[in-house]
Amino acid sequence: MIDVLLIMLVFFMVTSTYLDLDMIPMAEGAEEQTSTPTADPGAPLVLRLGAEGAVFLRGRPISAVEIAAVVAGRPDVTILPSLRAETQALVSLMDLLTGAGAGSVRLLRVAEP
């Protein structure tokens, strides 16, 4: 009995991972897409994420504080990321937008050349 328990204990200790991980949704389900309201009272806000991680609004670099001020209350924000940017830069920007109150954050993907 104790032998079997010890073997099981060692098995679970060795094979399990103990990382605390979260997730960010990257794709909407088909049902959600049809039911999501698309009415946007303001002009669409498009932020460009540069290769070095800098964020641009209408061609001008914009700081995190300015982003929070511009985004507040916007139901829909679109990010146009450079494909050379790092994943962390995109996640940080999405984090900032969600924290600033953006209703939904969308990614604009340019087709590969």
Binding site: M13, P25, A27, S82, T87, V91
Partner: protein, 134 residues
Amino acid sequence: MRLARAPRRTPPETIIPLIDVVFFLLVFFMLIGRMDATAPFEVTPAVAVTGSDMPGGGITLAVSEVGALALDGSVVDADVAIARLRDLLTEDPTRLVRINAHRRAPLSEVLPLVARIEGLGARDVVLVVTPAAP
């Protein structure tokens, strides 16, 4: 007349408390651990504050810093990964697909992958992140 002293009996080993402790440890490790396949290369997910708790199960596609892919722990080519995902999603389209990308992986390796997986009809595609310290 002197009677021989009865030999001192050593108390029997108490195995039951040991079983209790081991059983408790077993249940503890089963509850807090996740039986996920780990990638054969180093993957450090991006840090995020606004991530939500990740449910168990699903398929994990790991992306290394240089764009190498591993599907549920085994290194695969992108086309092979997509083919396997197509089979798995055909069986169950509601299956969760987790993309565990290294934080320094270029988006050119991650975003086209998301698009291809979406094209397979996946309803749940999520990016794995590490919760930021409060």
